[in-house]
C-alpha cells in the first residue's frame, strides 16, 4: 500500500464515473492485477455502489398530493371560471343565455360582484371580511354573504347562504333554516339564475 501511487485511487473513481482516459485505464488495470490492496479497495468501492443502489426506493406516503394541494393559496377566481367554462361548454352556453335573456348579465360580470357583500342587519358584526353572528344574538332574517366568510356564534332564524366563502359554526351556533355554501361557479350560476327568476 505504501508504494502505491495516489493517482491509482483517483483512476478508480474516474473509472467508476465512466470518464477515464484509455492510458489511465490500462495503468489501473495493470496495477490492480499485481496489487492486492488496490484490488480490494476497488472491489469495496464497487460493492459500496451496489449497496447504495440497492437502497429500496420509497414512495411518497398516501394522500401526499392532497395535502400539498391543501397548502396552496386559494385559486384565483378567474382561473376557476375559465376552467369551468372549458369543462362545461354546454351548461355555460345555456346559463349565459338565460342570464342574457334575463338581463342579469351586467350584474353577473360587474366589478362589484367580486366584492365582499352581505345582508345588512344591525345584529351582525364584521371583521376582516368575516360576518359574525355574535353569541347570544338571534338574527331573524335570511343571511347572504358574498366573497367573504361567516362565523355563527349565535342563532339565525332563517337561511344562511355563503358565496365564495367559508362558514364557521361555533358549538353554540344555531341556524333554523338551510345552510348553503356556493363555491364552484356551477353553483354560483344556479344561484344567480335562481335570483333572476325569483
Amino acid at each position: 500500500m505504501t508504494s502505491c501511487p495516489k493517482r491509482i485511487v483517483h483512476y478508480m473513481h474516474e473509472y467508476l464515473d465512466g470518464d477515464i482516459q484509455e492510458e489511465a485505464k490500462k495503468e489501473l488495470k495493470d496495477h490492480i492485477e499485481t496489487c492486492k490492496n488496490c484490488r480490494q479497495h476497488f472491489a469495496e468501492l464497487k460493492k459500496t455502489i451496489a449497496l447504495v443502489q440497492s437502497a429500496s426506493h420509497i414512495a411518497a406516503p398516501a394522500g401526499f398530493t392532497g395535502r400539498v394541494m391543501a397548502l396552496l393559496p386559494r385559486e384565483g377566481k378567474k382561473v376557476g371560471i375559465e376552467r369551468w367554462f372549458k369543462n362545461h361548454p354546454f351548461l355555460t352556453a345555456a346559463a349565459l343565455f338565460l342570464l342574457l335573456m334575463s338581463g342579469g348579465f351586467a350584474s353577473f360580470f360587474s366589478q362589484e360582484d367580486n366584492q365582499f357583500a352581505f345582508t345588512k342587519n344591525s345584529a351582525l358584526k364584521v371583521e376582516n371580511e368575516t360576518v359574525i353572528v355574535p353569541a347570544g344574538t338571534v338574527v331573524e332574517e335570511d343571511i347572504v354573504v358574498k366573497n367573504g366568510d361567516i362565523r355563527i356564534e349565535g342563532s339565525v332564524d332563517g337561511n344562511v347562504t355563503v358565496i365564495n366563502g367559508d362558514r364557521f359554526m361555533a358549538s353554540a351556533g344555531n341556524v333554523t333554516g338551510d345552510i348553503e355554501e356556493i363555491d364552484a361557479l356551477f353553483g354560483r350560476i344556479w344561484y344567480e339564475i335562481k335570483m333572476v327568476f325569483q
Partner: protein
C-alpha cells in the same frame, strides 16, 4: 413526458391548481425520496417534500421553461434539506438511536404484513445500515450521493441542480464514495 410537463407548467403559471396537482403526482415520489434520504425521518421528509412543492408553486414564474423542470424542482428540494440539516444539532446524525430499533420501525412501514420473515428482517437491517451510512456523510457529500446513486442522475445534471462546477461534483462523489466504503465494506 417533458411535453406534458411543460404544458402543465404553462397552466400553473396562469394559476391553474389542477395542473399543479398533476405535476405533484408526477414528481412526488422522486422528491420525497430525495428528502427522505437526506433527512432520515419520514415525517421530516414529508414536510420537506410538501414545502418543496409549495415553494415550486409560489415561485413557478421564476422557473425558466427552456431548462429541465426536474432540475429546478430537485434544486428546491436539496436546498431545503440542506437548510434543515444545518439547522439541526450538529451531533444529530450520530445519534445512537438511528442504528437501533428506530431504523427498523421506520422501515417497517414498507412491509405489508405484521410478521416479517427472517430474511426480510435481515434485508431491512441491511437497508438500515445502508441508509445510516448515507446519513453519516456530511451534507455536501450526501446530496451528491443521493442524486447520483438513488436518483441515478448524470453528473452534469447534479452540477446543474446544486449549481456547482462539474469538477466539484466529481470530487464530492469521489469523497462520498470513499466515506461510504469505510462504513459499508464489512457488510
Amino acid at each position: 413526458m417533458d411535453l406534458i410537463v411543460q404544458r402543465r407548467i404553462k397552466q400553473v403559471v396562469k394559476g391553474d391548481q389542477n395542473a399543479f396537482g398533476e405535476i405533484v403526482e408526477l414528481y412526488k415520489d422522486k422528491v420525497y425520496q430525495i428528502c427522505f434520504r437526506m433527512l432520515w425521518d419520514r415525517h421530516e421528509a414529508e414536510d420537506a417534500a410538501q414545502e418543496t412543492f409549495l415553494k415550486a408553486f409560489l415561485n413557478i414564474h421564476t422557473y425558466n421553461q427552456n431548462k429541465k423542470f426536474s432540475t429546478w424542482l430537485y434544486r428546491i428540494a436539496t436546498n431545503l434539506c440542506i437548510d434543515k440539516i444545518r439547522k439541526k444539532k450538529p451531533d444529530y446524525h450520530l445519534d445512537a438511536e438511528i442504528a437501533g430499533t428506530e431504523g427498523l420501525n421506520m422501515y417497517s412501514h414498507l412491509a405489508s404484513g405484521d410478521q416479517l420473515p427472517e430474511d426480510e428482517v435481515e434485508s431491512l437491517e441491511l437497508q438500515a445500515s445502508i441508509h445510516k451510512a448515507i446519513l453519516l456523510l456530511p451534507e455536501k457529500y450526501r446530496s451528491v450521493v443521493v442524486l447520483k446513486y438513488i436518483e441515478e442522475l448524470p453528473l452534469q445534471e447534479i452540477a446543474d441542480i446544486l449549481e456547482l462546477p462539474l469538477g466539484t461534483v466529481k470530487t464530492r462523489v469521489h469523497r462520498g464514495r470513499e466515506a461510504l466504503r469505510k462504513h459499508l465494506r464489512h457488510l
